[in-house]
Amino acid sequence: MTGPRKGENESEDEAGGIAGPARREDEALLTGRAEYTDDLRDPDAAHLAFVRSEYGHAEIEGIDATAAAELEGVLGVYTWDDVAASESPGVLPSSTGSLDCEVPAHPVLARDRVRYQGQPIAAVVAENRYRARDAVDAVAVDYDPLEAVVDSVEATAEGAPTLFDGAPDNVAATTDQGDREATEDAFDDPENVVDIELENNRLISSALEPRAALAEYDAAEDRFTVTMTSQSPHGHRQKLAHTLGLSERQIRVISPSVGGGFGHKGHHHPGEAMAAWCARDLERPVKWTATRSENYLEGAHGRDHRTTAELAIDDDGAIRGLRVETHANVGGYGLDGGASMPGWYGGLLSSQYRIPAIHCETHAVFTNTAPVHSYRGAGRPEAIYVTERLVDVAARELGIDPVEFRRRNLIEPDQFPYETPVGASYDSGDYERGLEEALELADYDDLRARGRDRDDGRLRGVGVACYTESTGGGFESGVVRVHRDGGVTVSAGTHSHGQGHETTYANLVADVLEIPTDDIDVMEGDSDSIPTGTGTFGSRSTIVGGSAIVESAEAVLAKARRFAADRLEVEPDAVAYGDGEFSVRDGAESGSGSSADTVSFADVAGMAYGWGVPEDMDPGLEETTFYEPDGTAYTFGTHVAVVAIDPETGELELERYVAVDDCGERLEPTIVEGQVHGGVAQGIGQAVSERASYDGDGTLLTNSLDSYAVPRASHLPEIETGQTVTPSPRNPLGVKGIGEAGTIAAPPAVVNAVVDALAHLGVRHVDMPLTDEAIWRAIRDSK
């Protein structure tokens, strides 16, 4: 596979001057020319805003919109009654098929009860965004507050407030993964059992661009165009069709530049659906842009697991079994797939280890909090955190170095494909090599030799975390369309929102077709002009979208070769191709004297669309592939964190962070590295500063960037990266996803390091986020 290859339009200065652009998409983004949803100007557009619940749990006694409706410039005020009277179902589809209970889906506007703070109650449309906010303030809602419950364990306790009659114990679903009996046996008579109780803190994805939509309705065609902040244009088309009661063919979803997603922009929320609904009702384009606080209130949030776990170990340090029980908070409603996510989260509990028996019981629990759904990592960070914390605790209690304990239990290179007891089939790996690479980069032995104490009075700790990550599920569409002049348009159903698909895809096609990348355009984000696809999430785009595009490009080249053969008057297998030119292969018999010596790729394109194509050939030079991989690709690696803690104040400094990742072939190393950096930063954010918190009444305490602590430049260490390369046999590119690795590995690496620094004080575990206060309390409580 080729390394990073930049567009031919760059100016490489060989004298060591200014390097060229790293990506094709950069210039538009750097100059302000790129258009994000809220950048789109439509002079006719009205603005939508929501009246949101002030309470975490309440009956709605009445809504008085009179004053709001009378404000100048207010075009409409809508409640659930208006939606119910329309032809739209008005609910957000949920995967209730995977739930154990019959509960109502999330309505776009509350019916008679609100189940989380920020749930939309009424929608207001006005001539401009300021007036829409005025109108929101003018709507009077009469609430009858109810007792709330926000914790997933407390919600299942006897006498807890209930959210739905159909789920009297608040349990949405209970799922078993692995073999309960075999795991019980493993715990029958082990030499050692260690346990841990931990929380995987609730997070908010915090893409810098808030969700937004501009919805237009064409009454003559009965058709919508919804331009929106989407990671998954076809996915949103399907969901909008469900909520609005339409066929998918009646909706065009356009996703322009998108300012980060991290899962949140794959979910289905009331904003975009109500923008479309209002556009039809008012026969006006309607724009909606969430505020930061609205984005935080509405969710979907991520993580929020409460877990108890035990590890059974032989005296020689071999792991015999792992037993896990988790209460996963799903919030006030099952928001599309959100409530079923806990049902598969345990699939990575084996991490990199041979664990003969694993059992995981997960309870997905309704609480009076914003819905929880996938956030970068989505179940995988939760699983790996459990195992990597438990492994560290076990090593310490057995008196074995945590690295040595890991080594003893690693899956060996010759054991692949490796089937775990929790249903994962690892495709390929060399886990020990990744581990050793990380240890060498971190200089682990030296760190250990230098010990905990230093001259500056601070305590040092080293934390190691190994991980695996499932990447690249589902199908994707990929089109390679050659135009009459030889120019190429590539499209895929994925949607880049920072991942640089334009660069990666153009280079992939340029490699196959051997034409300049400047002759290739890449298009994403339009459900009308791109065949149905799946979208960008789950570290899947290069694996699935990239493979689909490459298959299409190879099919295009095969057909082009046949056209060229006709022109060269030889058999296709006598045709050679290189640098955009077809010729007769050396040693092959050439055509008649009148035939051309060479045919360019552009000439072939002209033939494909000319009058009268060769016999036995169809006109046109365009291929569409719907590709699904031969199974999941499992990324893996080892991260190491080095921390210094002031024992008096609890102040934590992350002195070093080392990330060694194996995502198979690296097509665009610069982009891959950027994904590692970003993932690690979010993982460190979870470990040290981020936690979405509710008070007991269901009020979100972290409802802005003041109170929800996203890492800033000064909070993060330099991230030192390394790699091993173990190609995946399950896709033609040999790639594995890398988008989420850092969010998986960083939390256990950092927590393991902090506990390593404090273990001599008797600290066994500290829940994230490891704020100075949390560490100070852990030190104090240990005394």
Partner: protein, 179 residues
């Protein structure tokens, strides 16, 4: 709602417009003048995506009223490039892969220019401190810091020719009433 007639110089183009008392500068720039480079990420000065240069200072335009900027000179990210030539800071953000989704980038570039004008040769730590008012959720800041370092070196070497104050007048942006 009381309205005010104000004058601004945006990217060296003089514009007149009428705004409500409460109109934020970022909304006047984005919605009235169509300079959508400055982004809105938090509406509370916390994220820095809306950072513009206001009379030579790097300012969060989401917490400045448009009327407060009457008579002021504003530079948005649209005013950084010299024709087709990117500003050295823009060039280095691309060369170092200091942007992913790009939403924070206009603010990052503006803050970087302000930093390098007051401190042409900052340490990495100084860069991280200077950028603490600009949130990036994609890059982990590593390549952003690299980009600022490289930009400092490029500016010191006089590369790119378009020193910060030499940017030519932009003529291809709409003025009010050109919708």
């Amino acid at each position: 709602m009381t309205t005010h007639d104000i004058e601004l110089t945006v990217n060296e183009t003089e514009v007149e417009l009428t705004v409500d008392s409460r109109t934020l500068l970022v909304h006047a720039l984005r919605e009235d003048l169509d300079y959508t480079g400055p982004k809105v990420g938090c509406e509370s000065s916390k994220c820095g995506a809306c950072t513009v240069e206001l009379d030579g200072d790097a300012v969060k335009s989401c917490t400045v009223l448009a009327v407060q900027a009457d008579g002021a000179s504003v530079r948005t990210v649209e005013g950084f490039a010299d024709g087709d030539d990117l500003h050295p800071i823009q060039q280095q953000f691309s060369a170092e892969h200091g942007l992913q989704c790009g939403y924070c980038t206009p603010g990052m570039v503006t803050t970087t220019k302000h930093l390098l004008e007051s401190n042409p040769d900052p340490t990495r730590e100084e860069i991280r401190t200077a950028l603490k008012g600009n949130i990036c959720r994609c890059t982990g800041y590593q390549n952003v810091v690299n980009a600022v370092e490289s930009a400092a070196a490029a500016l010191a070497a006089g590369e790119g020719e378009s020193a910060p104050d030499d940017v030519e007048l932009q003529t291809d942006y709409p003025t009010p009433g050109e919708d």
